[in-house]
C-alpha cells in the first residue's frame, strides 16, 4: 500500500510535458474520418435502412405503405424470380471467366513485354471509358447486327450452329440471345479485370523469373509456380470487380438480350418503375446483395487471399 502511494510522484514532472500533444492527437483520426463516415451514413446506411423498411411494407400508392413486417415478400420474390437470379449469376460468372481468359494475357503482355508501348496499350484499355456506357453497348447492336459481317462470318464458319445447339444463340443470329448479353458484359467489364491484374503482375520482380529459369524450371512451370501465385491478389480483385457489377447489370440484357435473357437487374427496374411494387423491388435488391455477399465471402475464403491488393 505504502509503495503504491509512493510510486506516482516520480512521474509527476514528466506527465504535464507528455499530455498536451497526445490530447490533441487523440481526436485527429476521428475528425479525419468524419467526412467519410458522414458520406457513408447519408448515402449508404440511410438508403439501406429505407430499402430494408420498404421491403417489409405493404400497401399501395393510393393508400400509402405501412410497415407490416410482411416477410413473405422475400419468399414470393424468390419463388417468382429465381430463374432470373440464377441467370444473373451464370451470365456474370461466364463474363468473369471470359474477362480473365482475355485479360490475363493482355495484362501479362503490358507488364512484361510491352516495353515502350506499355503506356499506349494502357491508354487503349482505358479509352472506351471516355464514352458513355450506353453508347458502347448500343455499338454492339451494330457490330452484331443480323446482316453484319461478324454474324455473316460466324454463319459461314458454322460457329452459330454449334452455339445454337448449346442454347447460347437462336437460329442464325447473335443479337437477342444469351451469347450477345455475355459478350456485352465481357466487353463492358474487361478493363476492371485488366487493371488490377496489371498492377499485381507489374509488381513481380523480374529476377524471380530468372531465378526460376536458373533452377531449370520450364516457362510453363515458372508461370504455374511463380507468376500466377504471385498475381493471385490481382486475379481475386479483378474477378470481384467484374463479377459484382456484372451480376447486377441490366443495360446489356435490356439492349442486347430478349425476353429469355432478362437478368435480376431488369426485374428490379421493372418492379420499381413500371409495376410500382416497391416492396418486391426492395426485397429483390436485398436478396441480390445477400447472395453476392455470400458468394464473395466463400470465394475469398477459398482463394485464401485476405488482402486484395
Amino acid at each position: 500500500m505504502a509503495t503504491l502511494t509512493e510510486a506516482p510522484p516520480p512521474l509527476a514532472p514528466t506527465a504535464p510535458q507528455a499530455e498536451p500533444p497526445r490530447r490533441r492527437g487523440r481526436w485527429t483520426p476521428y475528425w479525419l474520418l468524419l467526412p467519410g463516415m458522414l458520406w457513408l451514413l447519408v448515402f449508404f446506411a440511410l438508403p439501406m435502412i429505407y430499402q430494408a423498411s420498404t421491403s417489409v411494407q405493404t400497401g399501395s400508392l393510393e393508400e400509402g405503405y405501412k410497415v407490416t413486417w410482411h416477410f413473405a415478400t422475400y419468399w414470393d420474390a424468390l419463388a417468382d424470380y429465381w430463374p432470373q437470379f440464377l441467370r444473373s449469376v451464370l451470365y456474370a460468372a461466364a463474363a468473369t471467366v471470359l474477362c480473365l481468359v482475355l485479360g490475363y494475357p493482355l495484362a501479362y503482355l503490358i507488364a512484361f513485354r510491352a516495353g515502350r508501348w506499355r503506356n499506349l496499350i494502357m491508354v487503349l484499355v482505358i479509352a472506351p471509358f471516355f464514352t458513355s456506357f450506353l453508347i458502347r453497348t448500343l455499338a454492339w447492336k451494330t457490330i452484331l447486327s443480323d446482316g453484319g459481317p461478324v454474324v455473316g462470318a460466324l454463319n459461314t464458319l458454322h460457329v452459330l450452329d454449334v452455339t445454337s445447339w448449346l442454347g447460347w444463340t437462336a437460329g442464325d443470329r447473335v443479337l437477342a440471345t444469351p451469347l450477345a448479353v455475355v459478350c456485352g458484359l465481357t466487353y463492358n467489364f474487361l478493363p476492371f479485370m485488366i487493371l488490377p491484374l496489371y498492377t499485381s503482375l507489374e509488381r513481380i520482380d523480374g529476377r524471380l523469373h530468372e531465378a526460376a529459369g536458373d533452377l531449370y524450371a520450364r516457362p510453363v512451370t515458372t508461370f504455374r509456380k511463380v507468376t500466377f501465385p504471385l498475381s493471385m491478389p490481382g486475379v481475386v480483385s479483378g474477378t470481384l470487380l467484374t463479377f459484382i457489377p456484372a451480376s447486377g447489370d441490366y443495360v446489356n440484357a435490356e439492349l442486347l438480350g430478349s425476353t429469355d435473357t432478362r437478368m435480376i437487374g431488369n426485374v428490379i427496374q421493372t418492379q420499381f418503375l413500371r409495376v410500382l411494387d416497391y416492396p418486391t423491388a426492395a426485397a429483390l435488391s436485398f436478396i441480390l446483395m445477400a447472395a453476392i455477399l455470400f458468394m464473395v465471402t466463400f470465394y475469398i475464403r477459398r482463394s485464401g487471399t485476405e488482402d486484395l491488393v
Binding site: 423498411s53 399501395s60 447486327s145 439492349l255 421493372t270
Partner: protein
C-alpha cells in the same frame, strides 16, 4: 510477495503502462472502430427506425393543392418537357416559339428538357408531391396514363378556363374528352402520339404485312418482329387486332391479349420488347417489322427510304403527352397563358413543322402548309377524317388494375 511486486515496477515501466492504457486499449484501433460503427449502424437500423419510414398515403396531401400565385410579381414560368420536343433555331440555342411568347407577354420561360421517361420522372417528383411540397416546375408534360395517375392522386391543379380561350376553342376533337380527364379540366395535350406498324422493305423482302396478326403469325418473320415495352401500345394494338376495343375491355380480354403475345414470345416470333431503341433495329433490318411510334417513323422515313409504316384495318392506338400544372406551382396563371399560346394556329404550326408528332390543334393546316407543304398533307401529323376514325385510346385504369396489368405484362417481357 505481493508487497514487493509494485516495487519492481520502475518509473519508466509505470509510464509505459499508462501510455498503453491511453494509446493501447483506449486508443482507436481498426477493430474498435469497426465495432463502434457496427454498433452505430445497428442502433440506427434498429426496428424503430425501420418502422418509422413508411410512405404516406399519396392522395392525402396536406396543405391544399394551390400555392400563392406569384405570376404577376414574377414574370417567369418554369416548363419541364421531354428531350427534342420543341422547335430549335439553326444555331441550336433558341426556341423560336418560346422567344415569341416572351416577346409578346414579357414572361420569361425557364425551359428544361429534364423528362426522359415517364416512370423515372414520376419517381423523381413523387417525394415532393406526396409531401405536399412544390416541385419547382409550373408545367410538366406527361403521357396519358401518368397524367391520369397524377389527377387521380390529386397532385395537379385544376386549370382556369378563362385563361385558356384558344385551347378551349382549338383542341382537336379526338383529344377532347379522355375518360381520365373529361372536358380537360386538368390537362391539355402537348402533342399526340400514334402507334402504328413500321417495316423495313428490304428486310421484309416481299413478305406482306398488313396487321398485327401478320406480325404474330407469319413464320417468315420469325425472330424479326418487335413490340414495345410500353404496355398500353403493345397490348392495345393486339386488342384491336382481336376485334376488341381498347377503350372498354374486360380483364378476360386483357388476359387473352397477353396470352396471344405470350404465344409469340414462346415460339420465338417476337425478337424482343424495346423502348425507343427499336429505331436502330428497324433501320439495320434486324426487325423486319415492329410496333412503332409515328413521330419516329416520319423521321426514319426521311433518313432511310426502306422504312415505311402502315395503319392496320383494325385501327391504331393514339395517346398524348399532356401539359399539367403540379400542386404548389408558383406561377399558375403564367403557365396557363403558355398553354393557351400553343393552341394558337401559328405557334402550333411552327412546332408541328419541327417535331413531326400529331398536332392536337384544329385549324393548323393552312399555317403549316406555308412552312412545310409535305407536313401539312401528312396524315401522321394532321390526321384526316379517315385517319381519325381509326384512332383508339386505351381506357384509363384503376390503381389496382394498373398494378395487375403491368405485372402481367412484365411477366410477358421476361421480368
Amino acid at each position: 510477495m505481493e508487497q514487493y511486486e509494485p516495487d519492481r515496477l520502475t518509473p519508466p515501466q509505470v509510464a509505459a503502462m499508462r501510455r498503453s492504457m491511453r494509446n493501447g486499449r483506449a486508443a482507436m484501433t481498426r477493430r474498435s472502430l469497426l465495432r463502434a460503427s457496427a454498433g452505430g449502424a445497428l442502433t440506427l437500423g434498429g426496428l424503430g427506425a425501420l418502422s418509422a419510414c413508411g410512405i404516406p398515403a399519396a392522395g392525402k396531401t396536406e396543405g391544399g393543392t394551390s400555392a400563392e400565385d406569384h405570376s404577376a410579381k414574377e414574370e417567369t414560368v418554369s416548363f419541364s418537357n421531354w428531350t427534342e420536343y420543341m422547335d430549335v433555331d439553326e444555331a441550336g440555342k433558341h426556341h423560336p416559339t418560346l422567344d415569341t411568347f416572351t416577346e409578346r407577354t414579357g414572361i420569361k420561360v425557364k425551359y428544361s428538357e429534364d423528362i426522359n421517361d415517364n416512370s423515372e420522372f414520376f419517381g423523381k417528383i413523387k417525394p415532393q408531391l406526396a409531401a405536399g411540397q412544390e416541385t419547382g416546375r409550373d408545367i410538366i408534360v406527361l403521357t396519358d396514363w401518368l397524367a391520369a395517375r397524377l389527377i387521380r392522386l390529386g397532385w395537379v391543379q385544376k386549370l382556369d378556363p378563362s385563361n385558356l380561350p384558344h385551347a378551349y376553342a382549338n383542341l382537336s376533337g379526338q383529344f377532347r374528352s379522355p375518360d381520365w380527364d373529361p372536358g380537360r379540366a386538368y390537362s391539355y395535350p402537348w402533342q399526340g402520339i400514334s402507334t402504328v406498324i413500321a417495316y423495313n422493305k428490304k428486310a421484309l423482302d416481299g413478305v406482306e404485312v398488313k396487321s398485327v396478326s401478320d406480325l404474330l403469325d407469319n413464320p417468315k418473320l420469325k425472330g424479326r418482329v418487335g413490340f414495345l415495352t410500353e404496355m398500353r401500345d403493345s397490348v392495345g394494338m393486339t386488342l384491336l387486332d382481336m376485334g376488341k376495343d381498347p377503350g372498354k375491355f374486360t380483364d378476360d380480354d386483357y388476359a387473352a391479349a397477353i396470352a396471344r403475345l405470350q404465344k409469340g414470345v414462346d415460339s420465338g416470333q417476337i425478337r424482343r420488347f424495346t423502348g425507343n431503341d427499336y429505331t436502330s433495329d428497324i433501320t439495320s433490318g434486324d426487325f423486319a417489322a415492329c410496333i412503332a411510334w409515328a413521330g419516329d417513323v416520319v423521321q426514319l422515313k426521311a433518313d432511310s427510304p426502306d422504312i415505311d409504316f402502315l395503319i392496320p384495318d383494325s385501327g391504331y392506338m393514339t395517346s398524348s403527352d399532356n401539359m399539367l400544372i403540379p400542386n404548389k406551382a408558383r406561377h399558375k396563371t403564367n403557365a396557363e397563358r403558355l398553354i393557351d399560346y400553343y393552341y394558337e394556329p401559328t405557334p402550333a404550326a411552327q412546332l408541328a413543322a419541327y417535331i413531326n408528332y400529331v398536332c392536337p390543334v384544329d385549324g393548323v393546316k393552312d399555317a403549316l402548309a406555308k412552312i412545310d407543304e409535305d407536313a401539312a398533307n401528312n396524315p401522321l401529323i394532321i390526321p384526316d377524317k379517315a385517319m381519325q376514325a381509326k384512332s383508339h385510346a386505351f381506357r384509363s385504369l384503376s390503381a389496382k388494375e394498373e398494378t395487375a396489368f403491368e405485372a402481367q405484362f412484365a411477366k410477358l417481357t421476361g421480368a
